[in-house]
């Protein structure tokens, strides 16, 4: 099928990751769990994951992954 699933996955996690991270930065006091700003950290993790997926999709072009 013509849709590379890495596009939506990448876009969604980039978006949600960025949102969480920014929320963690701006509302630091509301984002703390057990003394760590978990929204910021986990937002960043999701962001990195999303960007990696997008890079994979761009690099893969229109051809689906060969695996």
């Amino acid at each position: 099928m013509g849709l590379d699933i890495r596009w939506p996955i990448g876009l969604m996690f980039t978006l949600i990751g960025a949102l969480l991270a920014v929320f963690g930065l701006v509302k630091g006091s509301e984002s703390v769990s057990l003394g760590i700003n978990i929204n910021l950290i986990w937002g960043a993790v999701l962001l990195v994951f999303g960007v990696l997926m997008l890079l994979g999709a761009i690099k893969g072009g229109k051809t689906p992954p060969s695996a």
Binding site: I5, P8, F13, I16, L20, F23, I38, V45, F49, A67
Partner: protein, 639 residues
Amino acid sequence: MQAIQLQWIDYTILIAYVAFVIGIGLALSRYMKTSADFLTSARSIPTWVTGLAFISANLGALELVGMAASGAKYGISTAHFYWVGAIPAMIFLAVFMMPFYYGSKARSVPEYLKMRFDERVRALNSFAFAVMTIFASGISMNALAKLLHALLGWDYNFALFVSSGVVLLYVLKGGLTSAIYTEVLQFFMIVLGFAPVVYLGLKDVGGWHSMNSALQTVATNPAAIYLKDAGTTYAPNAWTSAWQPVLAGPTHNPMGVDWFAMIFGLGFVLSFGYWCTNFLVVQRAMAAKNMTAARNTPLVAAVPKMFFPFLVIVPGMIAAALTTLPDKGYRIPPPVIAQANYDKAIADVKNGNAANIADDLGKKVDAGKITSLIAANTASKLTDTQIEQGLYNSVAENDYDGVILSLVKKYCPAGLLGLALTALLASFMSGMAGNVTAFNTVFTYDIYQAYFAKGKSDAHYMWMGKVITVVGILLSIGAAYFASMYNNCMDIIQLVFGFVNAPLFATFLLGMFWKRTTATGAFLGLFGGIGSSALFHALTIAQGNTPGIKGGYLKVVSIFPSEMAQNFWLAAFAFIACFTLTLVISLATSRTKSDADLKGLVYSLTPKIVDNNAPIYQRPAVVGVVLLIVCIILNLIFW
């Protein structure tokens, strides 16, 4: 427990997720040209995608909730449902069975049965599967809607209709491909949504080793946190070792099972019966783009499956461990109790009526804790909130299904909370889409096309597939309401499906690997297997249960230490009965299919697949062996 309050950021995450899954459905709708596109993805999808969908379709919300519950109740032994009860069967499916499913060009598992045997076997399997899928879906929807109602205060009907409406929309637009693609997205959502909860829980409990030492306290006195009846005690490693307590015998592990039932009943009969014959999962592999991809699908799936215990079972273990540490202010949640009942009990605490409190709450209470709560209130007036908290801690019953969300609530600030709840909804939707897409294919091809409307145009079947998708979802909603109203009927229905499923693998095993198996043998063997599991159930019971729906209603011939042991032995018994009957009847009846008819359907009559030209990491046999070794190592680590 107070309802969790969601903030705008949580809703934003939830809505973003919903928008993306619907978007995937819309983006795929223009590729849906034939009924094969819609119902079978026209065999076009790469391995890693079908592999993750394979695992995600199986990972429903009930599994997430249930595995955390079992983690608290039984500890690391729960991982046997993965390491014994899934991985070997998934590898067997990939290496030995996929060639027949994929190579036969069957569009569904029932259709394979028709090719191998005859219409009778197909009819039995497809009707049972269709009905079972609807009820399974309904049970899961009911559970989720109840959970969302109890914890978020959402309206039951709202939760039911909105979540199934979303699934309907994207499955209707993009068919099986859409279900598979969204399952991949949901897979990542589930893993990334729950991982931080596990991390925070482990951090709070003081790391893996602290968790284990707290669980040793649990094992020596499980009654202290209301896990077992007073006086029950196990070796300290009963929650933290996977094999030693099981090998020591059924009275030495909290599951109450013996090693034979574990390995033969769960690891062979139930596990192979589910993973190798259930169209819900097999369908994902059948959508792969070629034979190698199809065979590698369960193998790709086995990798995350093997490590899922750390995501879904460890939270339960954390919850049990935290409950023993008083300074953490956590307990495994008690059953949900209405505020009115709490109010009555609060009044009785103030009046010092200790004897009334169990009745007020409608639950068993810890008399010692109630006495000290009343004493504390007499010494210095407590606020109503403090008393309610004290009562909450005094309820001597656990609601294990609440474990996972109680941890989410405890550790997740706004934002992360939205992510974790979205993960829960994602698991629900992936499970439901799995059921719906398997149902519409089996119904359209194996029931409608086979018995009601042969030889219509493809456009007609495509149209029918869509109608059946809508009908399937409506029926699931109906089943959910039925489940919410008649819980006992649901128990009976699930019981009957247990009987139907238990012997199934014997039929497949003989059919695929012994060409002499006849259609009559398979058909009567299946019936015999179903009958003997019902009989087995009617004659046995688990300790502590009264004869009736739990078994033993004819006569109690044998008593098992736990329901789980009863189930495992029932499966083993049904398998042996079906296997023997099929074998004997096959020998007594003459073959109706020649060797030529069975080419591609039976092991000995099918040319061996030569995959020597594939790179070594893509050869199913090689990958399968490597995965099996990794799985054995995991078992040894947690021995």
